[in-house]
């Protein structure tokens, strides 16, 4: 972890990447814009999920359902109650955050495997509720007629490009918020919990508050991602929010990308969401591919692609050792 003085530079760098990504995205056709949008939405999910999994050490399998809750909240608010997208978006995030907090209070009564199993149950219940409450959710037939995000008149881009810009914007907000969170005292407490919860308690760290904050943070952003997904798709169905689908996919994104780094999950999202779409990997093998990738990374690179890239960058930056007979370089002292 870097010191708090690096935060402004992280924001500047993230902003530069965001602007560059937007500039590139605006050159893309409708299809690739959609791929970027879906990739960015999953990157939002992955970054926020990593705050819980990578920084706090808790594996939640309820996040597929929380993502769905955000989507259905936005759908109901905009299609049934006439709310605008910009009003519905934060409300969907808050609703999901509140439900996430309740889930957290229930789930944190357990630890380790039991936590994962309990959240798995909550994820399954959530998905079933989307099916059962068909008068609100549309059931298996899905929720149709969700209004798209209102586009300002001055922004003269296609609706698809606008969705991509919104998704990239949400990714920027998530990244910056997550960077602020992990650099805060709460973030430090989460790291301590991840490393050794007993020691953290002994040191007087308020474990309950820190992990509740991490879960709620990840739930809020899962809800925001869901709301944007619903609005840009104009249609949602329960099958987009299953434990085996989205819930499992999130774990794969973070593990393959690199737990405990904020940019690793973005890499994971690009690799496992956008590129398979671009390359059209056959559905028959997609779950198999996820399984194999997880196995390979857990065994050979448990810290994910992020660690591999860091190692590669480090070795690339190492100065070549001078040959024994070469003239030694003179070190110039400038300060």
């Amino acid at each position: 972890m870097t010191g708090s003085n690096s935060f402004p530079r992280t924001v500047i760098a993230a902003s530069a990447v965001f602007i560059a990504s937007c500039a590139v995205a605006l050159q893309l056709n409708d299809y690739y814009l959609y791929v970027v949008t879906i990739g960015a939405i999953f990157a939002v999910l992955a970054v926020s999920f990593d705050v819980l999994l990578g920084y706090t050490g808790y594996l939640s399998l309820a996040h597929g359902a929380l993502y769905g809750l955000g989507a259905y909240s936005c759908a109901v608010l905009t299609a049934n109650h006439g709310f605008g997208f910009w009003t519905a978006l934060p409300i969907a995030g808050l609703i999901t955050g509140a439900v996430g907090a309740i889930v957290a209070l229930l789930s944190f009564r357990t630890r380790g495997l039991y936590f994962a199993v309990l959240t798995l149950g909550i994820g399954l219940i959530g998905h079933q509720l989307f099916l059962v409450f068909d008068e609100v959710t549309g059931g298996v037939g899905g929720f149709v007629g969700i209004p798209g995000p209102e586009q300002p008149d001055w922004l003269r881009v296609s609706p698809t490009a606008y969705s991509a810009l919104l998704a990239l914007g949400l990714l920027w907000v998530t990244f910056v918020a997550a960077a602020a969170f992990v650099r805060s005292k709460l973030g430090a407490a989460c790291l301590a919990i991840r490393e050794d919860i007993t020691l953290a308690r002994a040191l007087g760290i308020r474990v309950a508050g820190a992990r509740l904050a991490a879960f709620t943070f990840s739930a809020v952003f899962a809800g925001l991602a869901g709301a944007l997904f619903a609005s840009m798709s104009n249609f949602i169905a329960p099958e987009s929010f299953t434990v085996l689908g989205t819930g499992f996919q999130l774990v794969a994104l973070v593990v393959v990308g690199g737990m405990g780094t904020l940019w690793g999950p973005i890499v994971g999202a690009i690799l496992l969401t956008a590129l398979p779409e671009a390359l059209r990997v056959a559905a028959t093998y997609s779950l198999l591919a996820y399984g194999v990738l997880l196995l390979v990374f857990v065994i050979f690179a448990p810290k994910g692609i992020a660690s591999l890239l860091k190692a590669a960058l480090k070795s690339f930056r190492k100065a070549p050792r001078p040959a024994p007979d070469a003239t030694p370089l003179r070190r110039e002292v400038t300060s």
Partner: protein
Amino acid sequence: MVNLRPSLATCLILGLGILPMIGGGAKAADEIVIGEIHPITGPATFYGLPESRGVQLAAEHINKAGGVKVGGKEYQIRIATEDDQASPTVGVAALRKLVSADVRFIIGPLASGVAPALKPIVERNDKLTQLIDGTIAENMTNGKNIFRNQATVGGYNVAVAELFKAKKYPSVAMMTDRFHAGFMNSQKDLAGNLKELGVSIASEDYYKLGDTDFSAALTNLRGRNAEVLLIRGYPAEGALITKQARQLGFTGQVVWEMVSPPSTVLKNITAAEMEGVYNCIPPTTEDYVKLGDEKAIALDKAYRAKHNEGPGELTALSHDAVYIFKAAFEKAGSLDNAAVNKAMAALMVSDIPELVTRYTPQPDGRLFAADGQVDLRGEVSVWRGEAWEPARLTD
């Protein structure tokens, strides 16, 4: 010292991830590109692949016969295939990919989960015309730029009601795939129709695609002494439910309501165990072949020659869809979507002599009703030997 390395890496990776995505599609002159969206891979491939092949086959035949004549000019048809994997998200991506490549005429999709996800995109785009050849879910067409040459689930239910009426079954236990939007949304209506016929609904149970053990639901069902077990969903589960029901001692009549290729059925049940099971769907390619329909026999022969296996049950619909587009292009005399949509709505069944499927014309002879839906009703078939054959309900 500030550590910028992670952020720089993010920049590089984002750039590398996005750059290869820049691209597009192009089409040659004098050709009409028709996009087809079907599940070529994934759990519904046994429906989707034969549909895709049916589209390709029709295009090849049209091209060999001189192509499409539009406004005094001849065009060849090129098919652009996209795999939706029966997933809404993948289906939307597939449609956007075709739109980005300037494809303006679409056949598909198959899955009831994909069609509603595509509908708002197609409705908003006046440069798209869609002809659905797969999904049976209700309310998928608009008669403006979305049409369908497949039956609705309501059309399937007509055959179920006819069977119950003819056989005077007193009671039924229903088992429905809870993830099949078409069947789930029509469950109440079907139950209501059967009640009107005096049929008692003994139970309504649900299962999902991929389930393999139905013993709990079937044991419960057996206790209710239903005369008929009505299974609505997909054939793999239909076969397992039928098999397990027999093993648990159910001796009543089994009725299916699903498109079910014999090859898929026989993976999970023996032909002997299937003997006498009824199915209530519109006639399939195989049914038309058995009826001695010359066009169906020609399609079957061409399909077997090319793929070394028989066509799928929906192949005729997909094959017909290409001919419907051809007729609409020629009637419109233009490739402008507005003109094609108008011609599509005005097409008469008699305008398309190549159709394999026997659609019931609208009262004025048109193929499509005002909402863009054809009239295609389910008929009852029965399993005999190794396959389905048309049933005679008076037996």
